[in-house]
């Protein structure tokens, strides 16, 4: 084995090492996606665009896209806006930071199904929250926090905030604290340090966090059914795709909805990453080491 062959081409070694992984992803990720794309243009009846024109003309369908945006955009902004100051606050490595991050990991791994079941028990009309509020006469009326739009927002914050927090925290801790200390020596307040040192360095990381958090919220599924109102106010696009595939067995239509969904996410991701370049002021990896 000479060094030059190992450098450039696909030697037997490389093929043996990467081959299985590439083959698997081609078979079970690229092929289904390509097949779905093709399938979406071959509807059971009508022209090749029939599925897409049906989606955008049937209010029951196009509304799902709007509802999904109405849910995902505010929730993502809220999660990132909450996570940023809290991650900044916990930027120093302490026991407190370790415990906080460990506690915040739990809601992520519990998953949306368990969060939904917990919300139904805890936030329900006879749950502890309702009892607590009426005990202190904060609010005596019936509380309606589940089986509606708000219920889905709450569940997306519970699962999405820790995700955004952990991501931003890993960016914040990647910035060398020496920079902030230098600024502090020159009399910068914590706010000024944040505004003039952390924020510019964090901008690319915030854009990535926003994209990943948005994509996660955009594909909301179990909580929209379990704590939402899946027949109306929280009929999200993933639900429309699922119903087309597994209730009407119209795989062509289901693929079309999945493609529209993927395309809509892509638009937001590209827009945010484009904005990122407008704010770009330094190397994306921050000022590590």
């Amino acid at each position: 084995m000479n060094a030059a062959a190992a450098r450039s081409g696909w030697g037997a070694d490389t093929l043996l090492l990467v081959g299985p992984a590439v083959l698997f992803l081609l078979l079970f990720f690229v092929y289904p996606f390509a097949y779905g794309f093709w399938l979406s243009f071959t509807p059971a009846e009508g022209t090749w665009l029939a599925n897409y024109s049906k989606f955008f003309s049937d209010e029951h369908l196009w509304r799902t896209l709007i509802i999904t945006f109405q849910l995902a955009l505010p929730v993502t902004i809220l999660n990132v806006a909450l996570a940023l100051p809290i991650a900044f606050q916990l930027r120093r490595k302490t026991r407190y930071q370790r415990w906080m991050t460990a506690i915040l990991v739990i809601p992520i791994t519990l998953g949306t199904v368990l969060i939904a079941e917990g919300m139904l028990t805890y936030l329900g009309p006879k749950g502890w929250l309702a009892q607590f509020l009426s005990l202190f006469h904060v609010y005596d009326g019936p509380i309606r926090l589940t089986h509606n739009f708000i219920g889905v927002v709450i569940s997306l914050v519970i699962s999405g905030f820790p995700f955004a927090f952990l991501l931003i925290l890993s960016y914040v801790t990647g910035i060398d604290p020496v920079l902030a200390r230098a600024a502090a020596t020159l009399g910068a307040s914590p706010f000024a340090q944040f505004r003039h040192i952390y924020l510019p360095l964090l901008a690319p990381g915030l854009a990535t966090t926003f994209c990943l958090a948005f994509v996660q919220a955009f594909s909301v599924f179990p909580s929209a059914v379990l704590v939402g109102a899946p027949s109306g106010p929280t009929r999200v696009i993933s639900l429309a795709a699922y119903e087309a595939a597994f209730e009407q067995y119209d795989y062509s239509m289901a693929s079309a909805v999945a493609m529209i969904m993927g395309f809509a996410q892509l638009i937001v991701v590209v827009a945010v990453l484009g904005l990122r370049h407008a704010f770009y002021r330094g190397p994306a990896s921050g000022a590590k080491g």
Partner: protein, 283 residues
């Protein structure tokens, strides 16, 4: 002036601490109310139930065939972990050490399943699987779960491989070892901490993976999280307490592995492996 600034800063810190406490407290109470309900004899509108019983766990075990579901979950999760490590570690090694034509393209191929949400590619994937008669079977569920697990292992393993001194491999080559022997005798022992971390992370993520399992599972190939979804979905039919009992079993299962995982890995690793790659690839 300085005093006022200090005061504002203190108030701001207090506000943030308050927000965090509120968040954690409510989640804690949420979990506690599910746990209380799962042991409740009768609990209607009072602070605590009238009595306690374990009958709901017995009921959940029988009604939801929890034994079978747990067995399926174990089969799926362990196979996914084993396969993703077996395929992912060599691929991560090649991506960390070798440069070859189309490497950027391979990186993109590996990143995409982590950036595109499961429900978007899960629907075409399920369609293909049902046509290949894999849909509804255990194999289908395993293969579907492997799609995000494999890229995740590759991204988690890459930094571990980069830490290993390449002269060790060169030395082994000088003594005539081929790639397979180098892998088995040099790399695997050195990579053990990384492999352990990746396995635990994939394990926790696969237990919680709802969408792909939901789309590809049949009645005999449901994992615990999907069975829980159906139980909550059809809640009117069954006693809510036995649904909660099932939720507690699910939570216990995840938490045990999560606590083990947290001993070996940084919590941010559960979510942030993608980010290094996306920012590195973007410019």
């Amino acid at each position: 002036m300085n005093d006022r600034r200090h005061w504002i800063y203190r108030a701001w810190s207090g506000l943030l601490l308050g927000l965090m406490t509120l968040f954690v407290l409510n989640i804690g109470l949420m979990v506690a109310s599910v746990a209380t309900n799962s042991f409740a004899r009768r609990w209607l509108g009072s602070w605590l139930p009238e009595g306690y019983t374990t009958q709901w766990y017995v009921a959940a075990w029988k009604e939801f065939q929890l034994g079978d579901v747990l067995w399926v979950t174990a089969e799926v999760v362990l196979t996914v972990v084993a396969l993703s490590i077996a395929i992912g570690v060599p691929a991560a090694y090649a991506l960390a050490r070798k440069s070859f034509r189309g490497k950027q393209l391979v990186m993109l191929l590996i990143l995409l399943p982590l950036i595109i949400p499961p429900i978007t590619y899960g629907i075409p994937l399920a369609t293909v699987m049902y046509q290949a008669h894999l849909g509804g079977t255990l194999y289908g569920v395993i293969l579907a779960n492997l799609v995000p697990a494999l890229p995740f292992v590759i991204l988690v393993m890459t930094p571990f491989i980069e830490q290993i001194d390449p002269t060790l491999e060169s030395a082994a080559r000088v003594f005539g070892a081929n790639t397979l022997r180098i892998f088995w005798h040099v790399l695997i022992p050195l990579l053990m901490p990384g492999i352990l971390a990746a396995s635990l992370l994939v394990l926790v993520r696969t237990i919680a993976m709802f969408e792909l399992t939901f789309l590809t599972a049949g009645p005999d190939s449901q994992t615990l999280v999907v069975a829980l979804y159906y139980a909550v979905f059809a809640a009117g039919v069954r006693a809510p307490q036995s649904v909660d009992a099932m939720a507690i079993v699910y939570m216990a299962l995840t938490l045990v592995w999560l606590l083990i995982a947290l001993r070996f890995v940084n919590p941010t690793q559960l979510v942030s492996r993608v980010k290094d790659q996306t920012t590195a690839g973007a410019h």
